[in-house]
Symmetry: C2
Subunit: 215 residues, 2 copies
DNA sequence: GCCTGTGAAGCTATTCACAGCT
DNA sequence: AGCTGTGAATAGCTTCACAGGC
């Protein structure tokens, strides 16, 4: 069976994450097995794509019943997750930050938000969804002390780079920024940027230019 | 001079949207011209990538000063935007919805949020950021009456598909869903899904597996 | 018959590299 | 000398298509 073929691409990881979400839902609904074409339909991928992605995680499927959901979730977990739950910080506890807290509050198996940071003094010292909220100046100390490895940045555009700089000084390994700016960071810190404005523009573009043929 | 070469890809549109954000910022800072490598650095792309993207919008650049920012913004606008500002609905006015409202409140040139929808009766009938909030049952009527073409869906996962169905019945052309489910829709409705959970998983994965070589 | 796993083909996107201009 | 615009080359991703199994 040769070697397992290099590192997976970002696209593959995104899809695996979606498959996992779908699989968990199916499991809650009582299903135990699923075919590649079903999973594909529910996750927005073709069956061939699903099979190829699952190949990478050592996918044990059978022609008779498709994939065993429990086994598959286990496989994806082994493939993607780290041994311990990753500790995550949330910087910015405004509307967006609180939405994120609610979203992740009921805990995911692979991560845990352990600290929030805010500039606004009326929010610091309190708890949100059970997460303590510190002042933004404490980022370096708290991130170090608690071995926080990943941060979600939900602050206004102007504040994003300074926040990133603090996190980098504190030794963060990865950041997900929701602010509409491309953060500068050293090569050994992974940065992912998700700008809502971009997705709105994209949706508008394709919604309004659909079915236009080149003349 | 030959044909302008087919429809641009989603990736290209995403980058154009980011370039635009950067260009607007540079313009506010008083700059009038920019080189492809500068724009690339600020937007997270290579200079070659920038030049190729801008070629598509008829990029007028000169070797001496690079691209004229004003002209370029005009070009991107002509290329991407529709003649009229697109009317957008926001479904779900919880924390996430309100974050979106604040984010887009100061208006973008190409779109305008004109209505919010909520299930929670305590929010309906009021205004948020100057946007009227209707009950979710009124989606069909209001979307039709106001010629709303695009919707942003910021409701919990379980509610997303029913909301999408109402929007589709109302004749929506595109939807951006922030719920972690892949929406079913007819082919003539464009659907974009942005699941935060996926991006968090991805960030965690790459942050924690960086610098691992195949043994 | 209908499924998985997978080499090979096909396609799309990105980068290279250089002509042409200032 | 340094930049844009762009054909050509490369790299990366997705789909095809079929062998093998239940």
């Amino acid at each position: 069976m040769s070697k397992d073929g290099g590192r997976p691409s970002g696209r593959t990881i995104e899809r695996l994450s979606m498959y996992r979400a779908v699989l968990r839902r199916l499991q809650r609904e009582g299903k135990t097995h699923v075919f590649s074409h079903e999973l594909g339909e529910l996750a927005g991928a073709t069956s061939a794509q699903v099979r190829r992605d699952l190949m990478g995680v050592g996918g044990y499927g059978t022609a008779a019943h498709g994939y065993d959901i429990k086994q598959l979730l286990e496989g994806i977990k082994d493939f993607m997750d780290t041994a311990e739950r990753v500790k995550v910080a949330l910087v910015g506890v405004g509307n967006l930050g609180r939405a994120i807290l609610t979203f992740f509050a009921r805990g995911r198996p692979n991560m845990e938000i352990v600290a929030g940071f805010e500039k606004d003094g009326r929010k610091t010292g309190r708890e949100f969804e059970g997460i303590p909220c510190y002042h933004i100046d404490e980022i370096e100390r708290v991130v170090r002390e608690q071995d926080i490895e990943v941060a979600i940045i939900a602050v206004p555009a102007e504040a994003a780079q300074p926040v990133a700089d603090s996190l980098i000084r504190a030794g963060i390994r990865g950041m997900l920024s929701l602010a509409p700016v491309c953060l500068q960071a050293p090569d050994d810190v992974y940065v992912e940027t998700t700008d809502l404005g971009v997705f709105v523009d994209k949706t508008i573009y394709f919604a309004c230019h659909m079915g236009e043929d080149d003349p």
